[in-house]
């Protein structure tokens, strides 16, 4: 085909996508730049505008305001000058102050920098001057007005005074005028006498004499008044001076005239005249006041002139400010415009660039590069498809299109190759047929070989196809099952196959159809079982269903094997019997062996102690030797027996709480002699506060004495020390009894052999040091029996340390004690337990611990007899049974259990060291089988079903009324309890025979056998006596009835007086109580 290189990795074909991407990026970037430029322009414009509005405009506005203010201030001057009253003054003054303040405010608004700066300074200067000027003007006007007011007041006063004068003068004048008139008349009268006339003339002259000054006075007064009036409106100081002189003159005239007057009259005229005088002459006169007024007016005029000049200046300064600020605004505006135009330009440029580049890219790259190449490529492919092979493909470039081109090239090459291949195929097909023929022949050959193998196998094989029809069989199965070929050739169904066998008697005398049913039901399961044929052969049959529905059955003739097994079993039984005989022999011999020793030891001792009596003084030495040898022999015998007892598991430990220091003292007392024999120094270290140990004191002494005597024996002139120390290892507490010596020590090889029985470290040592080598073996076994162990360290020629380590507290308590720290098994919620029977403490505890761990309550027994007793008491849910036990062996126990109807239903699991006793176990009815060492998981698996079973509470409901039964049942069924019913006492007894319930609910009134009778019947059997009975009755019970019920009935309930929940609670309570009371601690066997 092609050159074999497949699609090339896409790494080399990059470019098109990236380039297009780049182009788009480039175009976009121009747009982006345009946007950026635009944004920047906006920003700049904004800034400039901001400047304008924030920086230039407010000041400009302020300057305008200021200019306006200035105008008003300028106008204020003349206005002020024109006021004629205080009120007007106040108004104008206030207005002026406002304007000044406003102007001041506007001034503050103006910045001190920029175009307006120096103008502003100028303005400020002028402003200050104007302000001062106006102030002066104000005060000038103010003084003018006050002067005018005072003047007016004085004039008015003068007028009043003049009127007053006239009021007083006029009557007098008129009187005098009247007198004159009368006198005149007299004179004029023709008839008047000359004397009268003379008198009249004379009085007339007197009166005229009085009248003239009065008239003159009045004229002068009038003159004064008129002068003051003129003074009030005098326009120049010169005129005022003339008037003053005139008034002065007139006042003096008046004073002269007054003195010539009638005193009364002059007295009356004093007030007005003095008033007029005051107002006409002196510093308080109208004239003086008018003078002041004139001054003020003059000042005012002067200030006004100044003011108008200054106003002109102010106005121009304001105008200059305004101009300056307007300039500033103009500048800012110009800047804004420049920015704007720049922005416009930039934007235009960017847009133009963008457009140009788009056009270029679109045209140059996409058009020419991409599209053109694609077109070429597609033309090429079309040609290829059309059948032409001579096209060329442009494959230059490194982008995707080039990739595609190369692929097309490959395609073309492939097409060429394909043509070639088709030609070759023709050839190959012919070749292949030849090969197939050869292979077929080969397979046939192999098939024949397999067939021969299959047929001649030692196992009989039968296969069934998916439809369970016979598919294949071999010669052996025909032979084994004596099957006719014709029958099999018909490919019968599995059921028919079984039927055929059954009808022929293969399974013995059985119900044929039942057998067929049974086999077909179990067809899908893996099964291995053995079967005896009618002709005596034993077959092992394996059913192997295959996942796809087929099945293979394999038959093996195991007759011989069975025979061997049986022979072996018999031999084993025999060996076990012999072993048991041996053990009992040994046990019995202890008695036999010791009896003669009694005589030897006793008599020899007697003859030594009572030498004179027996005349054995001379025989002392031989007798002592005899005695010693006898004691030695006894010691040896005891050791041997101890050892054999331990081996047979018959050594009993009598555990007591032992005060360690006391025991140590005893041992040391005995050991001292030993130590001295070899000149050894004995040291003892024992903490006085060591906790009391639970041990067999006899055995502990034995252990310690063994270790000490060994130490003393193997050390000469050295040091032997006994140290008793408490030790804690991984949470458990121990006491170490360490015996250390400085003796000959041991090599590592010797240490290894140490605990073997009957072996001293070596023969030489035995010669030198004596002993049988049993002591250490016994010591170790004893330690282990008490839950501890022995430890050794040693160095040749340096010495050795032997340690007996014993547990404290709970660990030391095992089989033979009542109180253990593992609390006595609370029979679990179900109240029932598993009974573990094994003589070996370690094995027993191991099984017990495994089971406890899995949630079982466990009770143990150390032997068959005890086990049977416990089983009867406790009726456990299951029993594990060791086979090899010294008192009665496991098989016997099993048989005994099976033989006892009450215990026969308890499942028993055998535990043994050998594993080919399975058959025996199964035949005897064991429920399961374990080999030691016990596999924990298997143990639990075997016992799990019984655990589950027992947890269901079983209630026996004894009631004759079916409705009531139904009712109670419905109340209890939700609890998942097992409920059995009985309609009277007799039926109830039947039920009890099948299964012992946890509780009985009992009606009293029933036919055949009523409640009372049933209760009596229950009392007869211990197993039934235990069952709590609740009487449910509608009877009104008499005292006699209650007495009958008292023994054997836990409670009495009245029908319809309780609800379902209450009944459930009551049942639960009684069941739990009963199970609790069955808890019993282990007892020494």
């Amino acid at each position: 085909m092609t050159d074999g290189s497949g699609p090339r990795p896409s790494r080399t074909g990059h470019g098109l996508r990236e380039r297009l991407l780049l182009s788009f990026v480039a175009i976009s970037s121009f747009a982006v730049i345009a946007a950026v430029v635009g944004n920047y322009a906006f920003y700049a414009i904004g800034k400039a505008l901001h400047q304008v509005t924030e920086e230039s405009v407010p000041p400009a506005i302020a300057t305008l305001e200021l200019a306006q203010s200035s105008v008003r201030i300028v106008a204020a001057g003349p206005a002020l000058l024109a006021v004629t009253s205080n009120e007007e003054f106040e108004t104008e003054s206030a207005a002026l102050d406002r304007q000044l303040k406003a102007a001041g405010a506007f001034l503050d608004k103006l910045p001190g920098q920029g175009l307006t700066a120096d103008k502003l300074i100028q303005f400020r200067i002028i402003f200050r001057v104007v302000t001062a000027n106006l102030e002066s003007l104000k005060s000038a006007v103010q003084s003018r007005i006050s002067a005018a007011d005072r003047k007016a007041a004085l004039v008015s006063q003068t007028f009043d005074a003049y009127n007053n004068f006239r009021t007083i003068w006029a009557p007098k004048f008129n009187e005098l005028k009247a007198q004159i008139a009368s006198l005149q008349r007299v004179l004029d009268a023709a008839g008047s006498s000359p004397e009268a006339r003379m008198a009249a003339v004379g009085r007339l002259n007197a009166v005229i004499r009085d009248l003239a000054p009065l008239e003159q006075m009045q004229q002068e007064a009038a003159n004064v008044f008129e002068a003051l009036v003129r003074a009030a409106s005098a326009t120049t100081p010169a005129v005022l001076e003339t008037i003053r002189k005139d008034a002065d003159l007139s006042v003096r005239h008046i004073d002269d005239l007054v003195s010539g007057l009638d005193p009364d009259l002059s007295f009356e005229l004093i007030v007005p005249i003095s008033r007029m005088r005051a107002n006409a002459v002196g510093p308080a006169s109208v004239i003086a006041v008018r003078e002041v007024e004139l001054q003020a007016i003059q000042e005012g005029r002067r200030l006004t002139v100044e003011n108008s000049e200054l106003s002109a200046q102010l106005s121009s300064a304001a105008a200059a400010l305004v101009a300056a600020s307007q300039q500033g605004i103009a500048g800012a505006t110009a800047r804004t415009e420049s920015v704007q135009s720049f922005g416009r330009l930039g934007l235009a440029a960017a847009v133009a660039l963008s457009l140009i580049s788009s056009v270029l890219i679109g045209w140059l790259y996409v058009g020419r590069n991409v599209v053109a190449r694609l077109t070429t490529l597609s033309d090429g492919m079309r040609a290829l498809v059309g059948g032409r092979r001579d096209i060329t493909i442009p494959t230059s470039g490194s982008d995707e299109i080039a990739e595609m081109a190369r692929a097309v090239e490959v395609f073309r090459d492939n097409a060429i190759a394909l043509d070639q291949l088709l030609a070759e195929r023709e050839q190959a097909a012919a070749q292949l047929e030849k090969v197939v023929d050869e292979r077929t022949a080969e397979l046939q050959q192999r098939g024949a070989v397999l067939r021969v193998t299959f047929d001649n196998m030692a196992h009989g094989v039968m296969t069934f196809d998916r439809e369970q029809k016979v598919a294949a069989w071999n010669r052996q199965v025909i032979k084994l099952l004596e099957l006719p070929e014709a029958f099999l050739a018909a490919k019968p169904h599995f059921a028919d196959f079984i039927r055929f066998l059954a009808e022929r008697g293969e399974y013995g005398a059985v119900d044929v159809e039942a057998e067929v049913q049974r086999f077909t039901a179990e067809a899908g399961q893996h099964r291995t079982f053995e079967r005896s044929r009618p002709d005596g052969t034993v077959l092992e049959i394996r059913h192997n269903p295959l996942p796809d529905g087929e099945m293979v059955i394999i038959y093996t003739d195991v007759t011989e094997r069975r025979r061997y097994e049986e022979t072996l079993t018999a031999a084993r039984d025999q060996a076990e019997a012999m072993s048991r005989t041996k053990s009992s022999f040994l046990a019995n011999m202890s008695h036999e062996l010791r009896t003669p020793l009694n005589a030897i030891i006793g008599l020899s001792e007697m003859m030594v102690t009572n030498a004179p009596r027996f005349g054995t003084e001379k025989a002392a030495e031989p007798l002592r030797r005899v005695h010693r040898a006898g004691k030695h022999l006894l010691d040896l015998i005891n050791q041997v027996l101890d050892l054999s007892k331990i081996e047979a598991g018959k050594l009993d430990l009598n555990l007591e709480t032992v005060k360690v220091p006391l025991l140590i003292d005893e041992v040391i007392g005995t050991a001292r002699g030993l130590a001295e024999q070899n000149k050894n120094h004995l040291i003892v270290e024992c903490a006085p506060d060591i906790a009391p140990l639970l041990v067999d004191p006899l055995r502990l002494r034995q252990i310690l004495f063994n270790l000490l005597s060994n130490a003393c024996k193997f050390t000469k002139g050295g040091e032997v020390s006994l140290c008793v120390t408490p030790v804690s290892i991984e949470g458990r507490n121990w006491v170490d009894f360490s015996v250390a010596d400085t003796g000959i020590g041991m090599t590592p090889e010797q240490v290894d052999k140490l605990f073997e029985e009957f072996v001293q470290a070596d023969q030489t040592t035995a010669r030198n040091y004596g002993g049988t080598g049993l002591g250490l073996a016994i010591t170790r076994k004893l330690c282990r029996m008490m839950g501890g162990d022995t430890l050794v360290t040693s160095e040749i020629d340096k010495g050795s340390v032997f340690t007996a380590r014993l547990p404290t507290g709970s660990a030391a308590s095992e089989a033979n004690t009542d109180h253990s720290a593992n609390a006595p098994d609370e029979p679990g919620p179900s109240g029932d337990c598993v009974l573990v029977i094994d003589d070996d403490l370690t094995a027993r505890e191991l099984i017990a611990n495994h089971l406890r761990g899995a949630g079982f309550a466990v009770v143990t027994a150390a032997g068959g007899r005890e086990g049977l007793k416990r089983a009867e008491e406790l009726h456990p849910i299951a029993i594990t049974l060791d086979v090899l036990m010294p008192d009665i062996d496991g098989w016997t126990v099993l048989a005994a259990l099976r033989g006892n109807p009450e215990l026969a239903d308890i499942p028993v699991v055998m535990a043994t060291i050998t594993d080919d006793q399975q058959h025996k176990g199964m035949t005897l009815g064991a429920a399961g089988y374990l080999t030691k060492p016990i596999d924990r998981d298997r143990l639990i698996a075997l016992l799990q079903p019984y655990q589950a079973r027992v947890r269901r509470t079983c209630v026996l409901l004894v009631e004759d009324d079916p409705t009531q039964r139904e009712r109670i049942r419905s109340w209890l069924e939700p609890q998942q309890w097992q409920i059995s019913e009985a309609e009277n006492g007799r039926v109830a007894l039947d039920r009890l025979g099948e299964e012992v319930p946890d509780i009985i609910l009992l009606d009293l009134m029933m036919p055949e056998m009523d409640g009372f009778q049933l209760i009596t019947a229950l009392q007869e059997r211990p197993a039934w006596r235990r069952i709590p009975v609740i009487v449910v009755t509608s009877l009104d019970l008499t005292a006699a009835d209650r007495a009958r019920l008292n023994s054997g009935v836990e409670g009495i309930l009245l029908k319809d007086s309780f609800d379902p929940a209450q009944l459930v609670a009551i049942v639960q309570g009684y069941v739990a109580k009963t199970r609790q009371s069955q808890k019993v601690p282990e007892v020494a066997s």
């Binding site: 030495e621 031989p622 030797r625 030489t764 010669r767 030198n768």
Partner: protein
């Protein structure tokens, strides 16, 4: 006076046998506590008969017996092997080592005397 060399390491056994033989008059018992000393004393004292315990330190009874029987000087001295080993094959093993007779412990003294006398008589004869 028959000179007996008793090669034995156990003190009680020595005490007893020595005393018993010497009670009989006509016997003198020499003692060696191990096989090596036994061979030396045998050469030095030239006893009439050797009673050889088999489990001995330094050199055991079998080896000592072999040596004595190999040595020209002591070849002619009869050796009775004494042992507490009561297993079958012990007798053959002892005889194979060169012992002339074999007996087990605890010793039946009469039987032992018989054997001694027998061997002494035959030795003298051959």
């Amino acid at each position: 006076m028959t000179k007996i060399l008793y090669v034995e390491d156990n003190d009680d056994n020595v005490y007893m046998l020595k005393m018993r033989f010497e009670l009989l008059d006509g016997f003198e018992v020499l003692v060696a506590e191990d096989g090596a000393v036994g061979c030396e004393k045998a050469v030095a004292e030239m006893p009439d008969i050797i009673l050889m315990d088999l489990d001995l330190p330094v050199v055991d009874g079998w080896e000592a017996a072999r040596r004595l029987k190999a040595d020209q000087k002591t070849r002619h001295i009869p050796i009775i092997a004494l042992t507490a080993h009561a297993m079958s094959g012990s007798r053959e093993k002892a005889l194979a080592a060169g012992c002339d007779e074999f007996d087990t412990k605890p010793v039946d003294f009469d039987r032992l005397i018989q054997k001694v006398n027998y061997l002494l008589a035959n030795k003298c004869a051959g």
